[in-house]
Amino acid sequence: MTAFRIPPHRDAVDPTPSAPLMISVDDTPIEGVTGQTIAGVLLGADRLSWRTTSTRGARRGLFCGIGVCFDCVAEVNGERDVRLCQRRAVDGDSVRTQHDALPILVPEDRN
């Protein structure tokens, strides 16, 4: 997939020129521009997945892209479960990918 950015002069919603910004994902710096969501910055850097599922460790990134599915959550500046498709990137944001192990079920009558 190739990220596609509308040049400012053709962007009817926000025609102001965008400034570059820098975020870090698991301590790796990634460059984006103002106005992008963090998910947008990641996609722009060809990063398609950042979370892993608990059961099989399968990769997950954007699924719905509109804040409904919670597939794209990650930790942002120390806060867990942030939907990256909903969070506007801010210069200096520190993103950490999440992997949550499944809880261990209580076996029958161990109590």
Binding site: S54, D100, A101, L102, P103, I104, E108, R110, N111
Partner: protein, 404 residues
Amino acid sequence: MPRIAVIGAGISGAAVARELARRGHEVTVVERAAAAAGTSGRGEGNVLVSDKGPGPELELSVLSRRLWSALACELREELPEPFPSIEFEAKGGLVVATTEAGARSLEEFAGAQRAVGVRADVLDRASVNELEPHLTERSTAAIHYPEDAQVQPVIATEALLASARNAGATVITGTRVSAAVRDDAGRLSGVRVESRTGRRDIIAADQVVIAAGPWSAEVSSLLGAPIPVKPRRGMVLVTTRMPHRIRRKVYDADYVGAVGSSDVDLQTSSVVESTAAGTVLIGSSREQVGFRDDFRARIVAELARKATALFPFLAGASVMRTYSGFRPYMPDHLPVIGEDPRAAGIWHATGHEGAGIGLAPATAQLLASLIDGSPAPLDASPFAPARPSLAPYLNEPYPNEVTV
């Protein structure tokens, strides 16, 4: 071989169908929508002994809890991978009081339960911290109920139906019942049904079991045996997945009072637990608003506030979605299990309110033994449709005052 139609493929209908099919009856399940599409798929999967005081419903709960343990093993053996696990988990319950008065009544309540054989251990502060290290420090009493358990109710319903099919039952979904068919002598001979595509048919049956949850009022009315079951709505919040910090079903002592109340107005009490997927479920509200399922922010706010009072760390949790379901509510607070006194051949299995998942196996066993004429596992009279406490309501016409 007696032919039996079971109306409703929720947990009760599924359990009844399985039990009857395994006893050699010819069973057909008729479901308006899909398996577990109504109440069963919209609760928390509670298998509790903790929320009932001594009495017939507690006896039914204790029997059912024992049956669930056996069922979980039987179903796993009968339906190996890749059939998903029913996630039966004997996680135990922790009931917490947060006021001095609440502490006294909780301890009394637990004492009465212990007297009839329920395990209800009073915990000191150190034991509470060990069981639930993230619980509020402001609790005034805590009782541990090691027998409380949980299942994934949709998978459990599907598993019971699969097992019923293995025993010869037929399951028809997307089909609603419109009337009873009786022969010239007035004996029941079947039910008229109509599929979603408009196909009409008659399903031959000598007996009909109505297990349509809160919709049993409508179905029983169509079949000439109206029962006064009403929908009582409950809402649940689901958080995003998080590291496992809540190990048991933890609820505040108000829950018991809310379960037993007859209030029409909104009532909430906190019930908090983790699921096998890592989300946290936050309940529970009860209100009588008919079958209205509109979103109400006030309920979400109240549930969230009470849950954070039990587990302060939840203040930073994200609520991912909410859902609500309609519990089948009986005016005298007891399930209705047995043959209708007014219409021979029509049987009821509903009215469990929020306890239907937990009570399904015992309900099935009791109902099947009544149909068979075999020895009942416990006294059936408190649940009989002909019981005195229900008599004043049996002549209420349907639709009753709370409707769609």
